[in-house]
């Protein structure tokens, strides 16, 4: 049976994106600019490669002892006065958040950017229950107004041009039509969001790092929106994947130095805020979410993917991502890292993603925690085919290829016939059925192969 999915596959979505070549160029250049900023920052630290190795090893330790660190974190967070919740999957996570919101009787609240809540589809879930979520990260707010998902984990609206943002703000925030001045639009967003912050009784934030030793969490933003939300609200709900743990406070320095440099080419994020205990009369809730992470932990060849600190460097460097756009990955986390995380969440829906790569390996080289992303892409391809998610046509062509290539005489004959056909009846291969020929010429078919030449001249 042919596997079918609820959405178009990466190749088709990327082909749609490529219909506007000028836009692809702009998208590619914008992200390449971020990659260059990252390079500059990395080169400013002679110890860069040591830092990556150290970070990778700290995370290796965390993943090997995750159970103990999580319990240590829980104990310390509770001692600090926080309430800790455990969610096995996205559904449980969403229900815990809904229950907390219902207890507070709120119909509207602010959220700072959190890829975990995107992964769990929290916003639409709450909307179904009559609760409005206001995303407060500027880029996130922009895509929210456009009713789109983020296209990048650090730069959620990187696919939008300032003119398009001007139009959105005109419609939703009442800015003058045609004004696309970034400074002006940012100021308008600031006023709009400030009102939301002041009125919100509950704030949700993500978590970048949770320190087991102290039970505290660190949230990194460039806009201070997590702080604004959490400090003004009476109830702070922090949602985190269980892999966000680091053992001790002293390890933070390693990750904070790597995160912003890898993400945006800044030495550090503008705000790296520590949340430890609720203020007097206030509440702090921490939701620890598994959602497939322990399953991935049990798969040895994919375990390293849980080291990810969500910097997005692999997306900025990925030549395929830059020319496909984030939405072509139809998953909360796009790009190379998304392509190795998504099949764990739903192998059937995301069976195409590990194939959306040339396996060039640039992603593994920029990764600040040294995840072997391109090797895992290769491994996922094997698993996906073994699990039966390859198309029948592909299976047939691979079986045929195997038949020809494992028999030297068949290979020689087939090659000779193929080249003869290409020379005498080029229309057989140079046609619309051949995806190679659509925008590329076929190589010229020589009369003799190297093997023929060798036999004639050397033996």
């Amino acid at each position: 049976m042919e596997p079918t999915t609820a959405h178009k596959e990466h190749a088709e979505l990327a082909a749609d994106f490529n219909k506007d070549e000028a836009r692809v160029d702009w998208h590619d250049e914008t992200l390449w600019w971020v990659r260059q900023k990252r390079d500059k920052m990395a080169w400013s630290l002679p110890e860069w490669e040591d830092l990556r190795e150290t970070a990778s090893r700290i995370k290796f330790n965390v993943l090997g002892n995750l159970h103990d660190y999580l319990l240590e974190f829980e104990k310390n967070a509770q001692l600090n006065g926080a309430t800790v919740h455990w969610a096995a999957d996205a559904k449980e996570h969403n229900e815990i958040v809904l229950k907390l919101l219902k207890e507070q009787g709120v119909q509207r609240m602010v959220k700072s950017k959190s890829m975990l809540t995107e992964e769990c589809h929290l916003n639409p879930f709450l909307a179904e229950h009559g609760i409005d979520v206001i995303d407060t990260d500027l880029g996130e707010r922009i895509v929210q107004l456009a009713k789109e998902p983020p296209s990048h984990i650090v730069l959620p609206c990187i696919h939008k041009k300032k003119e398009e943002i001007g139009d959105l703000f005109h419609i939703h925030l009442g800015t003058p039509a045609g004004n696309a001045d970034p400074k002006f639009l940012t100021a308008a967003a600031r006023l709009h969001l400030r009102k939301e912050f002041i009125q919100s009784h509950v704030a949700i934030t993500g978590v970048n790092f949770a320190v087991a030793e102290t039970g505290e969490m660190v949230v990194c933003t460039n806009e201070g929106n997590a702080d604004m939300g959490a400090h003004l609200a009476d109830v702070h709900i922090a949602c985190m994947g269980i892999e966000k743990i680091i053992p001790q406070r002293k390890h933070l320095g390693v990750f904070l130095r790597l995160l912003a440099r890898s993400a945006t080419g800044q030495p550090i994020t503008t705000y790296s805020s520590h949340f430890r205990k609720p203020g007097a009369g206030r509440q702090l809730h921490i939701v620890l979410v598994d959602n497939g992470r322990s399953r991935q932990l049990g798969r040895e060849e994919f375990r390293n993917s849980l080291k990810c600190i969500r910097c997005g460097a692999c997306m900025n460097t990925c030549p395929v991502y830059r020319r496909s756009g984030g939405h072509s990955y139809h998953n909360a986390v796009a790009g190379p890292i998304g392509a190795i995380l998504a099949p764990n969440l739903d192998m059937k829906e995301n069976a195409d993603l590990p194939f959306a790569s040339t396996l060039c390996g640039s992603c593994s080289n920029v990764c600040p925690v040294k995840i072997n992303i391109h090797e895992q892409l290769y491994q996922w391809r094997q698993v996906i085919v073994q699990e039966g998610y390859a198309k029948t046509s592909k299976k047939a062509s691979m079986a045929m290829m195997n038949m020809v290539l494992s028999r030297p005489t068949v290979f020689k004959t087939a090659g000779g016939v193929g080249r003869w056909v290409m020379r005498h009846f080029p229309g057989v291969v140079n046609n619309g059925m051949n995806p190679w020929y659509k925008q590329r010429d076929m190589p010229e078919a020589p009369k003799e192969s190297f093997a023929d030449w060798y036999k004639k001249n050397k033996q």
Binding site: A14, P319, V320, F355, G361, N365, V385, N402, F450, W453
Partner: protein, 245 residues
Amino acid sequence: MKVGLFIPCYIDQFYPQVGIATLSLLEKLGCEVVYPQGQTCCGQPMANSGFEHLTGGCNELFVKNFADFDYIVSPSGSCTLHIKDHLHVHDKEDAATHIRQHIYELSEFLTDVLQVKHLSARFPHKVGIHQSCHGQRGLHLSQMTELVAAPYSKPEQLLQMVEGLELIELTRKDECCGFGGTFCVFEEAVSVKMGKDRIADHEKHGAEYITGNDVSCLMHLEGILKRQQSKVKVLHIAEILNAAF
């Protein structure tokens, strides 16, 4: 020193001149080279498509053809890397291990094993190097721009021995060309866009020729260049190192 020449399937069929240049170059440098006639393909097209379980036949064939050489040399970084990483044969694991440890892409064989210091080649043209990813990042033929580490390049080191050759700088030194094996047909749109951008970088800096260590990438770029009716040509590095134009 007995060298087994591994000519990948598509080079055998479409680019025999690359095989001839490789053989001639190795012989000029004093190697005893044999081309085992029963060879076909390394199995990478199947493995990279998720069908590694179908590569048994290719693996057995490869071991049969190449087990008895001191070194195996190939004008393709990608196929060499595939063998290095994935060649296994259940009952011939010793032979497979010997091959994995003694297979070299041509330019690394020249710089690291033969330690070539000069070549009698002349090619008075402006040349850009397309660093194929598997050779560069997999076999470490040259330093990668993502890493904070001292630069080096084995292909560049060799091309600098060619009289009259002028290497051009590129804006994106090691960007992938988008070939990617079966990626080039299953993801045709992105593949071609990447190829076009790769070519534009070379053209912008005045390249007359694009060279590299993988014919596969060059075949993809050549296909686009011809469609664009560009004057820029592609040549495998073996053809330039063996050149006496």
